[in-house]
Symmetry: C2
Subunit: 295 residues, 2 copies
């Protein structure tokens, strides 16, 4: 089995796999890199997870996820900030345990409107405050926080950060190595400013991670699970990928799929199909490939 | 029965009513204005529809809808442009038949990506070309085309115009009286630039129509039917309405609800509930009310 040398499997794509299973099937699929989630790491404990990651030989590309800090000051907000501090430490530890070329990136999903609130402007301001509070910890740990804009259909209940431009504005007060942004095609493909903001993100040195997955309609009943293999929807990966590459982005590229059918399929099949779809619609537009991807 | 003097019922809110029923129940509900859809008008014919509208004593606020012109040149595109020309004529006729204060506004929904296409940039360019082609007809008929940005979750299959800023950019080459924009809270509430773009739309004299309805999650299985009575979701109507009023907007305000439960309810109940929700969450923030709304 083989996979493109810059392809990283985000663990959520095989959500039902344990950490051990995810590492094994990803390495067996010929991948060189993986993005992890906090919950399966916590199941075995950080030390054990780090050891297994090292044993896998895979690069670590990101930890999902921090964030969820839109609530007003109080115990819940303190708990969220504390949880994010732990996530920063976990990210640093895992990046150190991954193979050379690992990136200490912690993905931040902002969180939605607090229950009963209509104050979107206030919620967005509290995201800015939370990031400011976490930056010293991230800097000390050598971790890059990656603000992820989510599709606007999630603005009320999941992420009040909705565009790449907004994420870059939030990142602007801080050093790019400490606060970057996530460019996920699924979330930003529709934005008339998307390509301009990708270029801006590049100029500002803030693309922490490029993630690819596709958009198709009709949306499923649970719109969280609307993500498709690259090439199975309407996103123009040629243009998007070329735009990201033109910024000089040279990190790994994650595929992260939330999709009930994909989650129900055998892990090895999903891993292989992900690699094949990446080879077909993303790889041809990469300027930097360490090695050509065997078909 | 009474309703706020600036409240207009968009006919889609009582989708299953015939034109005659819609006019009757809207007038009986104390409304002074209605927005119509082409299909129920066509059912009785334009002349008969105009006569009934005149008899109702209601103002006409808009016709839904033109647009759906993202396809490349060919017979389908010609048919679309011709259909839009007829819609312009219908708008002019209905506005003349409505009570004084009627506005000759034709709402344009751009249309999604053509079947099998991933060329979002091209589709958007064809929207600009279609508008340019229709402007002389609209100008001659005294009709204002209103470009409606739809929520980005509809970008692939319904409207490639996704933000107010994009709609204003599309309108920019033309006179504001001929090409304006729709400000529908449901579609734009999430946008970090929404309030700035409302102010811009005001400065440029382009707010053709302000429509209010609410956003709530979870979204229904058919995301087209996700619209709620004002006040039953998360949108901050105080801030939004004040921003629109601050531009000097003084036209009627439509409520347009696509919602299976609302469509299944008795027309008179929907009409009354719409008026009550408007009184409660929108009316208090209006700078210009011809008369106070009796509770």
């Amino acid at each position: 089995m083989s996979a493109h040398p810059r392809l990283s499997l985000n663990q959520a794509t095989i959500k039902r796999a344990s950490l051990a299973e995810a590492l094994e099937v990803t390495a067996a699929g010929g991948y060189r890199a993986i993005g992890l989630w906090r919950e399966p790491v916590a199941e075995v404990g950080l030390a054990e997870a780090s050891a297994r990651l090292t044993d896998s030989g895979l690069r670590f590309t990101s930890l999902c996820r921090g964030g969820f800090f839109t609530m007003p000051e109080g115990p819940a907000r303190r708990a969220s900030i504390d949880g994010n501090r732990r996530a920063i430490e976990e990210t640093a530890t895992l990046a150190a345990a991954g193979a050379p070329g690992s990136t200490a990136v912690l993905v931040l999903v902002a969180g939605g409107l607090p229950e009963g609130s209509r104050d979107l402007v206030g919620a967005r301001a509290r995201v800015a405050e939370a990031i400011a509070e976490l930056v010293p910890d991230a800097e000390a740990a050598g971790v890059q926080l990656s603000i992820e804009p989510l599709h606007p259909m999630y603005a009320s209940d999941r992420a009040v950060v909705s565009t790449l431009g907004q994420a870059l504005d939030l990142a602007a007060p801080f050093a790019p190595g400490t606060v970057g942004v996530e460019v996920d095609t699924f979330h930003v493909w529709w934005d008339p400013e998307a390509l301009d903001q990708v270029a801006r993100a590049g100029r500002e040195g803030r693309i922490a991670s490029y993630q690819v997955c596709d958009w198709a309609t009709p949306l499923p009943g649970d719109v969280l699970l609307a993500r498709h293999y690259p090439g199975e929807g309407v996103i123009d990966f040629a243009t998007f990928t070329a735009a990201v590459e033109a910024t000089g982005y040279d990190r790994d590229i994650e595929v992260e799929l939330f999709n009930a059918d994909i989650w129900a399929a055998p892990f090895a099949e999903v891993v292989a199909r992900t690699a094949a779809s990446f080879d077909r619609v993303v790889a041809p537009h990469l300027a930097r490939a360490a090695a050509p991807s065997p078909a």
